[in-house]
């Protein structure tokens, strides 16, 4: 971010200097307020406001107060489904109707129900999701970083073609080929049941197929910002390409690796279409597949048990997201979309 700002500054050097000269005549405090008023859409952008004026509600409201109202409205909009699901997860009764009176009853019965119901292997789903998404994330980072390193640091025939094809391939999500993926996997399971339909390895392999397209480019851009002189210094000191990659580039690129791993993790947690056709047995499924089937008819489903499951399922992802927020926001502007 900081670098970007600096860049912008350098374009606009001329006008900035000019503006500062022009503004020099004005009292700085007044100027700040004038700009603030103008920004707030208030009248009299150039009116001189004497300092130490007693607190005025109108002025406060025009400057920042209305912003708080927008903020509160948006927070209510953003949070009310979350409040609803937390409330219904604490409701010991099962049905959707019973969940409507928010926080009328508090109990952990629903959590116990979903964790112990023999028909609903929730803990198994949870473990499957973590394993599948975790391995996919690690594999994605590794495969993507290898490819990005070669594109960023080596010059070879077909390099540009390779880069262009990766950019093009990433426009076509794997989901488009869900039918072919299913048929391919069922053909594979005729010969090698251990990696075919209804196996976690099979699903992870499919996800890894999508890894290169989406993430290589993100990492390629970041690797390019690591000065090649570092590699050269290492090379002179006797390091080979593998050592440079594992001990220098990967260390320096840690932030982007974290972003790619997290985005890949969230993607796999969310993925339904492919997972639902590959994982057939209930106890092999992921949270997305299992929970969706659980409430396929919300009227008859045990809604508070689902809510309890949903709360438990969202907690790790939300925690991870908020923890790595800073990095993700950087990665988002580089082209990842949820």
């Amino acid at each position: 971010m900081a670098k970007e700002t600096k860049q912008h500054r350098s374009w606009v050097e001329g006008p900035v200097v000019e503006a500062e000269i022009l503004a020099a005549g004005l009292d700085t405090e007044a100027r700040r307020r004038a700009i603030a008023d103008a920004d707030a859409g208030g009248p009299g952008g150039t009116e001189y406001v004497p300092p130490r004026k007693p607190f005025s509600f109108g002025r406060w409201f025009r400057a920042t107060g209305w912003r708080h109202i927008v903020g509160i409205v948006m927070v209510v909009f953003a949070l009310f489904p979350i409040v609803f699901v937390v409330s219904s997860s604490l409701n010991p009764q099962g049905t959707l109707t019973g969940s409507n009176a928010l926080f009328s009853k508090i109990g952990l019965e629903s959590y116990v129900r979903i964790l112990t119901d023999p028909q609903v292997p929730f803990t198994q789903w949870f473990a499957n999701t973590i394993v599948i998404a975790g391995i996919t994330a690690v594999g994605t980072v590794f495969l993507g970083a290898l490819a990005a390193y070669s594109f960023s640091r080596m010059r070879f025939t077909g390099r540009r073609v390779g880069l262009v094809s990766i950019v093009i391939v990433q426009m076509f999500p794997q989901m488009l080929a869900v039918v072919a993926i299913f048929l391919l996997m069922s053909a594979i399971s005729d010969w090698f049941p251990a990696i075919g339909l209804n196996t976690h390895i099979g699903l992870i392999m499919v996800y890894l197929g999508g890894a290169l397209g989406v993430n290589t480019f993100l990492m390629y851009g970041f690797f390019n910002t690591i000065p090649a002189s570092i590699d050269e210094a290492a090379k002179i000191d006797g390091a080979g390409h593998a050592r440079i990659f594992f001990t220098i580039i990967l260390r320096l690129a840690a932030p982007i690796l974290a972003v790619v791993a997290l985005l890949s993790f969230i993607f796999s947690v969310n993925e339904f279409a492919v997972a639902s056709v590959i994982l057939i047995d209930t106890e092999k499924q992921t949270l997305a597949v299992g929970l969706t089937k659980l409430v396929s008819n919300p009227r008859y489903a045990d809604w508070s048990a689902f809510s309890a499951g949903a709360v438990m399922a969202m907690l790790p992802v939300v925690a991870l997201f908020l923890w790595l927020q800073k990095y993700i926001v950087g990665g988002l502007t580089a082209g990842a979309v949820k």
Binding site: K3, T5, H8, V16, A19, L22, I35, A38, A40, R67, H68, V70, G71, M74, A78, P81, L96, N100, L146, A147, S152, M154, R160, G162, L163, V167, M171, F172, L176, A177, V178, V179, A180, F182, L183, W191, G209, G210, L212, G213, P227, A228, S229, G238, G240, A242, I266, N270, L287, A288, V295, S296, P298, R299, A313, M314, V318, F321, V329, V337
Partner: protein, 539 residues
């Protein structure tokens, strides 16, 4: 990055290294890797080769010569790449490329192939499989069949019948392998055990009754000879099919009615009056699926409204999330406001929650008769949020706005903050009104950063499976259409539903729809790349 050197890597000389340089690089590589790395490499390659050899062996056993050849060639290429002293880029690219080619490129090509077949329920095997399956499904007991004493046996989960024929010989067979003579142990007149098979005890026979009564062991290789079936696990009777297959003319004849079903090239035996015997088999049908999708009015109409809705959904979603996100970014991009951090964290929560869960929660809240929105917020209103074609479209957009605005908020906030304050100050001093400052200075600068993300967001929403599938399941369903399609379905959910839900699966038609999406996305991609010049800037 704290370094100040911003050396462009393209500045490296692209000339081929001299022999000396190459030798030096090799020495450096050898010095850095050490023995351990070489050993690790050899072990990894050995494991890989062992797997490849096993795979080729299994494939050859299954007569999959082409696939076996591909596996062998890929394995050889991998060995060559990693043992070679050169091929450095290939060493880094190969692992990812193998997955990419198999699970992204190949499957897209394969989708193209399936779109030209009649693959689906009733057409998912070869003609031979269809013949034996038809014969097996129309078996009828021969009236005067003798009772063959049988013993049910099991080998690795596969059930077989150990039959004693009237001559006193023991024969064994399963669903897939016809009866064949074996040496068996006899208990009196009846064969009771055979090497390599486990004889099922009475309790097992009871437990697996369903499987046992389903058994139909062909008498010989010729399907017209019929099969042996046992209703009780102790004696079997001969069954013959009411269908008779004539291999020479390729026709099926129903011996009870005398109807002749012939292979007329549609992938199923069809009688003169158009009645089809299913299962049929898989054939290529040319452009049939595409022609059917656009000319059959019952299919063409859904295709048109689904396509229009897909565009509308993607466009409105991008526009609504972008404008709300931009508005919020402007509102909260004011240093004087207190508590901005808290608003920010609370507002991005919808983005942090896995979207499938959010959509399911919204589906519960929007339930017409029991949902929170109707019952509590609107005091018992009966608004059909998810069950009326138009209201459901609105609900989908509303939920997608909820899901997507935090992303646009974050993106716009970042973009706005990277616009220097001095620009605004300069404009204000020059007498520009706030709206003019925004429209003429901030918005253009912002769009430069955000435009590629808007295109990406459009592409994402074009295939936003989760929101649609979890919230409305594409519903309300269009009861006029012969395929499971509804009024909020987008193209990708229609593909999924045609292929995997509903009474019959139609992989061919679903793949044809996939190809249509593929073409639309390709056109969008071309336009996007032309506009942004992404491809030209690659180096």
């Amino acid at each position: 990055m704290t370094t100040t050197i911003d050396e462009d890597v393209t500045a490296e000389t692209p000339q081929k290294p001299t022999n000396r340089q190459r030798r030096a690089a090799n020495i450096a590589d050898a010095a850095s890797g050490g023995l351990k790395m070489i050993l690790l490499k050899i072990v990894m390659l050995a494991i890989l080769d062992a797997i490849a050899v096993y795979a080729v062996f299994v494939l050859v056993m299954n007569n999959q010569w082409l696939v076996a050849a591909v596996v062998a060639v890929v394995a050889a290429a991998v060995n060559w790449i990693y043992f070679s002293r050169r091929k450095l880029p290939a060493k880094y690219l190969t692992p990812g490329l193998i997955f990419l080619v198999l699970f992204q490129v190949f499957v897209l090509v394969y989708t193209g192939y399936i779109a030209f077949t009649n693959y689906g329920t009733g057409h998912n095997g070869s003609k031979e499989q269809a013949v034996s399956s038809l014969m097996a499904s129309s078996l009828q007991r021969v009236e005067d069949s003798p009772a063959y004493p049988v013993t049910v046996v099991d080998r690795a989960g596969t059930l077989g019948l150990l039959v004693t024929d009237p001559d006193g010989d023991a024969l064994i067979g399963t669903n897939d392998t016809p009866l064949d003579e074996v040496d068996a142990e006899f208990d009196g007149e009846k064969a009771v055990a055979v090497d390599g098979w486990t004889t099922l005890q009475f309790a097992d026979v009871i437990a697996r009754t369903d499987e046992i009564t389903e058994l139909a062991v062909p008498v010989s290789d010729d399907p017209n000879d019929g099969a042996l079936r046992t209703p009780d696990g102790s004696s079997a009777y001969q069954y013959v099919s009411t269908l008779e297959y004539d291999e020479a003319s390729g026709t099926m004849t129903d011996v009870t009615t005398g109807t002749v079903y012939s292979d007329i090239g549609t992938g199923a035996f069809t009688s003169d009056d158009g009645e089809e015997l299913l299962p049929g088999w898989q054939i290529t049908v040319g452009f049939d699926n595409f022609v059917r999708a656009v000319t059959d009015p019952r299919l063409a109409q859904p295709l048109v409204y689904v396509t229009l809705w897909t565009f509308a959904f993607a466009l409105i979603s991008v526009a609504s999330t972008f404008f709300l996100g931009l508005f919020l970014a402007i509102v909260f991009n004011d240093v004087r406001m207190r508590g901005r951090r808290y608003y920010r964290v609370l507002m991005i929560l919808p983005y942090a929650i896995p979207s499938f869960l959010s959509a399911l929660i919204w589906a519960g809240m929007m339930n017409e008769s029991f949902g929170f929105i109707n019952q509590v917020l609107l005091g018992g209103a009966e608004i059909p949020w998810l069950t009326d074609p138009w209201v459901a479209k609105f609900s989908v957009l509303l939920v997608n706005l909820w899901l997507g605005f935090p992303y646009m908020f974050l993106v716009c906030m970042g973009a706005l903050q990277s616009i220097p304050d001095e620009l605004q100050e300069a404009a204000t001093v020059d007498g520009a009104k706030p709206w003019a400052v925004f429209r003429l200075i901030k918005l253009p600068l912002l769009l430069v950063t955000v435009a590629p993300l808007l295109i990406a967001s459009f592409a994402f929403n074009f295939n936003n499976f989760n929101t649609i599938y979890m919230l409305t399941d594409g519903g309300p369903r269009d009861s006029n259409a012969p395929i499971p399609v509804g009024f909020t379905d987008i193209l990708i959910t229609m593909v999924y539903k045609v292929a995997f839900t509903g009474q019959s699966r139609d992989y061919g038609l679903a793949s044809a729809y996939s190809i249509i999406i593929f073409i639309i996305v390709a056109v969008i991609a071309v336009i996007a790349f032309r506009r942004t010049k992404t491809l030209e800037e690659l180096n």
